[in-house]
Symmetry: C2
Subunit: 140 residues, 2 copies
Amino acid sequence: MEQSRHAARYVSKLSNKLRRKIDAFSTRGQMSGAQGKVLHFLLAQSGDVFQKDVEEEFSLRPSSATELLKRMEQDGFIRRESMPGDARRKRIVVCEKGLAYKEAVMADILGLEAELTRGVDPGDLETFFRVIEQMLKNIP
Amino acid sequence: MEQSRHAARYVSKLSNKLRRKIDAFSTRGQMSGAQGKVLHFLLAQSGDVFQKDVEEEFSLRPSSATELLKRMEQDGFIRRESMPGDARRKRIVVCEKGLAYKEAVMADILGLEAELTRGVDPGDLETFFRVIEQMLKNIP
DNA sequence: GGAATATTCTTAGGTAACTAAGTATTGGAG
DNA sequence: CTCCAATACTTAGTTACCTAAGAATATTCC
């Protein structure tokens, strides 16, 4: 019954677990896990942010990002405003309601990260990051 | 714009990439990526397999596994037969059409794994596996 | 300047995952 | 033996991805 280990299978299995976890506490039913992750990303940026940046950060297709951000706008977490310079792009702005969750979202993500890496040797974690960065490069 | 590295984000990003990849070649449009992964798992098992095993292997909820297996049954890759011993359980049997894809599915998975781990030091990969196994344990 | 190309985002339609609740069936405790 | 909890799976309804196709604006190249 024993099978050889496949990195791909491990990653998708862990990803499913993580999605459930973050869905469950993001942030206490006020938003979905995907929204929580995006909000966390947006809050950490300093300059202008566009949909393209979200697509890149989470490896999403444009259509997926559109839907996710549209929902976040409907729910009042963000606003999307047209840019004077380039009418194709829309700047993503976190608004009042989104900012209100700043601390909670940060705590959610940090807590998950702590739980995830519990008992992992720091050196090994460093190697883990190096390997997964290589894997991300390997898959276009 | 530089952010600290989060294992959780890396994993979900890589998972999205992998899903797209395996969707694209599983196996040349004859089945979905999820079906391909499950078929690969089923073909590697020796004894009886039940839905519960699939749920465990891929960290899926019962409802997700039901839908996935139902579709695979409709598509003619598997059959689910009632067990004499325990009427709650249904044994999953790969049928003709599923068996026909054995080589192709194996090649798909192996090819993806090779692409994924290209340029990764074997020792580092070993560490990667150890870390991700710990992470899987850390998240219930 | 105008035509082809590239970029950014949207729409439409589909699959795969989820939660929550439900249906049988089995096994155990009193 | 009966009732109650646990197990295995299903159904219903939602979100988050995807591909494919399209619209609008920018850019490049003659």
